[in-house]
């Protein structure tokens, strides 16, 4: 109890009119001592978190999965293997993969410039990176239409093309790779590069053999996040793509049509579950990869 006594003494000395008697501030000493382990929250915390996650995430996911099988497994299979559904899914995956791949390269370059180069307005550019993420996606779609739409001021019209979908996806997923690579690059030991140079490696060899392997986990997890985000993207695509079936229609928009236009919630749920599965696989993939990277770092 000596630390608490010291506190009492300290407090009773502060007021000038303090009585000369024993410094007994029972008010402070009576404060109960928590028995919780340092850093832990105990069973209450675990319980709250479990309920919260169930309400917010697990139950809705379970509900949509259950709903998708309302007409039986055979019907589920029929719905998700319909030509339009399969086409939308394949297009979604391919265009998302492409966006992720481009992001992996360009995002790394952006992060590199932001970390290693000095130029005026750097902090402004740095702040700008998050804008596509913070922007409501429908606004993102509108901005793209304003520039590359029917009445494009630069004479480029991509509306209703697959290029438009890729463009929209690259716009909204820009921050992921940048933001995952940036901190790793900041922490990267510059002396490793100097050591590599002193051992005879050219700048290119140093980048390939030293820098890139150290950035690879961050690049891949950033790319995987942008892929996951792209697979589910709706708002920025829905206006500019025109949602042409077998051409520019992505799964998210297809689901929306099933639900709203065709009033077919069970089919919508079925396709949703497939998308859900894809996202889950990607997340598990990231985890497995990160774990592998952690083992030697």
């Amino acid at each position: 109890m000596s630390p608490s006594l010291a506190t009492d003494n300290g407090l009773s000395e502060v007021p000038p009119a303090s009585p000369a008697g024993p410094p007994g501030c029972s008010r402070l000493r009576a404060r109960p001592h928590r028995r919780a382990r340092a850093g832990g929250t105990g069973p209450l915390g675990t319980g709250v978190v479990t309920i919260w996650l169930s309400l917010i995430v697990l139950l809705p996911l379970a509900a949509v999965t259950a709903k998708s099988f309302d007409d039986g497994a055979g019907r589920f299979w029929d719905v998700v293997t319909q030509r339009q559904a399969v086409n939308a899914l394949i297009f979604t995956l391919v265009v998302s993969l492409l966006a992720a791949a481009i992001n992996a390269v360009m995002g790394t370059l952006v992060a590199w410039v932001l970390v290693r180069d000095d130029f005026r307005g750097k902090s402004a550019v740095n702040a700008l990176i998050d804008l596509p993420f913070a922007l409501p996606t429908i606004v993102a779609g509108l901005t793209l239409i304003a520039l590359y739409g029917k009445n494009s001021p630069v004479g480029i019209d991509v509306t209703y093309t697959r290029t438009a979908v890729l463009l929209a996806l690259m716009f909204v997923t820009l921050p992921f790779v940048v933001r995952s690579v940036q901190p790793v690059l900041l922490e990267l030991d510059r002396e490793m590069e100097e050591a590599s140079t002193s051992l005879g490696a050219s700048p290119g060899q140093t980048f390939r053999r030293i820098v890139l392997p150290n950035l690879r986990p961050a690049i891949l997890s950033g790319a995987a996040l942008s892929f996951a985000r792209a697979v589910g993207e709706f708002g920025s695509i829905v206006l500019i793509s025109g949602n042409v079936p077998f051409k520019t229609e992505v799964s998210a928009v297809y689901i929306f049509k099933l639900q709203e236009s065709s009033d077919n919630p069970i089919s919508a749920s079925a396709v949703s579950v497939v998308l859900l599965g894809v996202s889950l696989l990607v997340l598990i993939g990231i985890r497995v990869f990160e774990r592998r990277g952690d083992q030697r770092a």
């Binding site: 030991d189 002193s198 005879g200 490696a201 050219s202 150290n214 770092a297």
Partner: protein
């Protein structure tokens, strides 16, 4: 042989190196010793090519390398914080320079294994740097630098990040390694004990200039300035001059040139006894302390201390032992 000719280095307004001239003999182990900010690391990095001098020349074995990139200089560089390639095994770390040089696989393996044996890391080939201790990582870094058979080996505070015991072990080990390998080595350190322990030659640096260079013993016995003297071991200021603690004589009665002092503290350090003294005229401080009120320190042997029967509060007389300073003291009197 490393020749540094009239090298200047500016960082904006900061003049880091001021007209440095230095010759480092082939096969020697030279220490660049100085306080932080004295330019010793900058000088080492200029020799390595990791920094480009504002003016001046660097010549390695007769070859002007001033405008050569580091990878073309054939140097081995060891960093304070190891700069281990985290994503590679110990074997791949050491083999890196050889792989860059596209040596045959068998030769790389043989050479790597041999070097790991030399640095005492045999059997650690498959480990990652994160699985090694600091001392082991630095030995790996040394093996990596030696693998390319560099003309010169440059070490930037190589033991600075290690704890005292490992540091002492490693520097003894480095000295023995140097005696075997004979590669021209330059070591940057701020630790005078380390420099005195391992180096054949010491160059003491101060504020971007070389204050003095020479053999450790000459620097210790005949420092060219108060700065060099106070940097190469503890000193006390007694009146006008600086004096080393072990050059102070403690007497029980007034004698020629002795000053009256009061014993503040007597510390027994094994063989030696440290006596802290407050001069009666107040005209004495120990120069390594920041405050001027630091007591004068005298270092005497146990036997002397026993004979004097000193304890705190005693009044004694101190003077510099005659003939102990090589530079300005009368050397003849000592012999």
């Amino acid at each position: 042989m490393i020749t540094v000719e009239n090298v200047d280095k500016h960082y904006g307004d900061f003049h880091a190196l001021k007209g440095i001239d230095l010759e480092i003999a082939s096969g020697s182990l030279t220490a660049l010793l100085g306080p932080s900010g004295s330019g010793k690391s900058t000088l080492l990095r200029v020799i390595a090519g990791l920094e480009v001098p504002t003016s001046g020349r660097v010549v390695l074995d007769g070859r002007d390398v001033t405008n050569l990139a580091p990878q073309q200089r054939g140097i081995g560089f060891v960093f304070q914080h190891y700069a281990a390639f985290k994503h590679m095994t110990v074997r791949d770390n050491v083999a890196f320079g050889l792989k860059i040089r596209k040596k045959p696989k068998a030769e790389i393996k043989e050479k790597t294994d041999e070097l790991l044996r030399v640095v005492g890391l045999d059997g650690y080939q498959q480990r990652y740097p994160s699985q090694l201790s600091g001392g082991q990582r630095q030995r790996m870094a040394l093996a990596r630098a030696l693998a390319i058979e560099p003309a010169v080996l440059l070490l930037d505070e190589p033991f600075g990040a290690l704890d005292a015991q490992v540091r002492a072990e490693l520097r003894t080990w480095l000295r023995r390694l140097h005696d075997e390998v004979h590669v021209t080595t330059v070591l940057v350190t701020h630790d005078q004990e380390e420099a005195l322990d391992v180096a054949d030659t010491i160059a003491v640096m101060d504020a971007g200039e070389i204050a003095q260079s020479g053999k450790p013993r000459d620097l210790y016995d005949a420092p060219s300035s108060d700065f060099v003297m106070s940097f190469l071991g503890p000193v006390s200021r007694l009146g006008e001059g600086l004096v080393r603690p072990h050059d102070l004589e403690v007497l029980l009665e007034a004698r020629d040139g002795a000053r009256e002092a009061q014993v503040v503290r007597v510390v027994h350090l094994g063989f030696e006894v440290r006596v802290e003294l407050l001069l009666a005229d107040g005209n004495g401080t120990s120069a390594d302390g920041v405050g001027a009120s630091e007591p004068v320190v005298a270092q005497i042997t146990r036997a002397e201390a026993a004979a004097l029967e000193l304890s705190a509060g005693d009044i004694v007389w101190v003077r510099e032992q005659l003939g102990t300073r090589g530079a300005d003291g009368p050397k003849a009197a000592a012999a």
